[in-house]
């Protein structure tokens, strides 16, 4: 019991250290650059306790649930030896986690507004909603495809940069043909697709697969799934902007 308590305390101190820089930056700028007092001290104090507690709980839960789930499923699929089912799982995981991502919904709505302002679509509410929904599912499908491709890469043992560098070249070529208004959103959409829950799960899946399959190294082959998931949305969103 004492050991558990000790570990929890250690984790809390770790969380405080992780969060300290944000507070230092904000307070220094508020007091010395903007030269203003700190507002709502009570709210900030309670909020700080919440953030520290939340980060501590998340990290504890990570090692108890998200990591083992991802790894165990990777081992089970590797043992079963059914590649189609594994790829189906990879696609659904990417698609399912992205379609409902709040950050993506916000970006898609923003994109619809820009498209309407730029005269690419009609300015009616309905046209905007259908544009935003289409974009959202395009990105979700692209992330599904990314995880699928990434898993296939781990199975086959292809070097990561053979796939990522052509992807970059694809992004650059698309940039010259895509409408100007969509480029910023497309570039940003690569960053917003990967949420706090998806990242640990997908990382554990990749590392688990690379450990379970003979001849693969968890370090060189296990990582890279997130990289695909940040790259394909850029290409797909620009393609969407060109087609619509």
């Amino acid at each position: 019991m004492f050991h558990v308590k000790n570990k929890f305390l250690k984790q809390i101190i770790g969380s405080i250290l992780d969060l300290l820089p944000i507070f230092v930056v904000i307070f220094i700028f508020q007091l010395f650059v903007l030269k203003q007092p700190i507002p709502n001290v009570a709210d900030i104090a309670i909020g700080t306790i919440f953030v520290v507690l939340g980060l501590t709980l998340f990290i504890q839960g990570l090692e108890k649930s998200l990591f083992p789930i991802g790894e165990n499923m990777a081992y089970a699929f590797a043992k079963k030896g059914s590649v189609p089912w594994l790829l189906a799982f990879a696609f659904s995981l990417g698609f399912g986690t992205t379609a409902a991502e709040p950050a993506l919904i916000a970006v898609a709505n923003e994109a619809a507004r820009i498209a309407a302002d730029g005269g690419m679509i009609q300015a009616s509410e309905q046209a905007k909603i259908s544009y935003a929904t289409g974009l959202r599912f395009t990105v979700a499908a692209s992330v599904g495809f990314a995880i699928l491709l990434g898993v296939l890469r781990i199975i086959r043992g292809w070097p990561l940069h053979y796939l990522i560098i052509p992807g970059y070249i694809g992004v650059v070529i698309m940039t010259f043909f895509a409408p100007d208004a969509i480029i910023g959103i497309a570039y940003d959409s690569g960053g917003v697709t990967t949420s706090t829950i998806t990242v640990p799960l997908v990382t554990a899946l990749g590392v688990g697969l690379a450990s379970a399959i003979q001849g693969r190294n968890p370090l060189t082959d296990g990582f890279g799934l997130i990289a695909f998931a940040s790259l394909t949305p850029m290409i797909f969103v620009m393609a969407y902007g060109m087609v619509i």
Binding site: I22, V24, V25, I26, F29, N40, I44, A45, G47, F50, V51, L55, L57, F58, I59, G61, L62, E63, K64, S65, F67, I69, N72, M73, A76, F77, K80, S82, L93, A99, A100, A103, E110, I114, H161, I164, I165, Y168, V171, V172, I183, G184, Y187, D188, G190, G191, V192, T193, T194, T196, I197, V199, T203, N217, L219, G222, I226, A227, A229, S230
Partner: protein, 264 residues
């Protein structure tokens, strides 16, 4: 007090809504494809509750304590009264006027990335499977420095009004060149670190900074120029992590070269 409780409940609900599709997919595949019970089900459920509660408290705390102040600061730092332009902005914009914005961007990018839960998760994993060869703390530091440089450069781009794609393409070229020379074991991790930097903590503050800046500067469209900072924050960590591995490798090689000389 009431506002806290309602906030906690609404955030809890939306977190559960986020987790639900993931859980449904996992349970479906586990039961109908793998056809096995979950091992240590109780442990997994407790862990899942920890994750959901953890994210909820984290988000509520950020929303109450940090985001209002952080976004307000981003607005104030970019406002005309603070910048006090030295040139007539309708003719030209002096990028030097915005020095505090670049410094704030660099500092806030660094600090928020260090606290990013997804990055902590990946760093823990990397340290475990590399048997301690990659230190979680150094990896997070490298990524944070990358984001810091990225945001500073990204805010400069908004002020100077240069094209986004020029920076991104230049960044890609650097990444490709580094990939040819960097140790093979770091490449996957480096590429991944681009995607994990920008989630819960960094995005809201950085977006506020970008939009505030694009609104304050005449001739910039907040809808068009406000975007793009996230792209910077996803690209530069890749360069930073590759550089970290290259420097580490160079230092070890130099130490190995030195040793025989000392033996003479």
């Amino acid at each position: 007090m009431m506002s806290w409780i309602t906030e906690i409940f609404s955030v809890l609900l939306s977190t559960i809504k986020d987790v639900a599709p993931i859980l449904i997919i996992i349970v479906f595949f586990q039961l109908f494809v793998i056809k096995r019970q979950f091992a240590q089900l109780k442990n997994l459920m407790v862990g899942m509750v920890y994750v959901i509660l953890g994210i909820t408290f984290f988000l509520v705390g950020l929303d109450k304590a940090l985001f209002p102040l952080g976004t307000l600061m981003a607005e104030q730092l970019t406002s005309k009264s603070f910048i006090n332009p030295t040139t007539d902005q309708s003719i030209s914009i002096a990028w030097q006027d915005y020095t505090w914005v670049y410094i704030f961007g660099a500092c806030i990018g660094f600090a928020t990335t260090l606290a990013e839960p997804a990055l902590i998760a990946v760093a823990i994993k990397a340290q475990t499977i590399s048997a301690g060869n990659i230190k979680a703390w150094y990896l997070r530091l490298a990524v944070s420095i990358g984001v810091s440089v990225g945001i500073a450069l990204g805010t400069y781009r908004i002020v100077s009004g240069t094209e986004l794609y020029l920076y991104i393409i230049a960044g890609y070229v650097i990444v490709i060149i580094q990939t040819m020379f960097a140790p093979k074991m770091i490449i996957g991790l480096a590429y991944d670190s681009g995607g994990v930097t920008t989630s819960t903590v960094t995005v809201p503050l950085v977006t506020a900074l970008g939009i505030g800046l694009a609104t304050a500067i005449p001739g910039r469209n907040p809808l068009l120029d406000g975007f793009g900072l996230i792209a910077f924050a996803s690209l530069f960590p890749i360069i930073a992590v590759l550089a970290y591995a290259q420097i580490t490798e160079w230092l070890t090689r130099r130490a190995q070269l030195k040793r025989p000389e000392e033996g003479d």
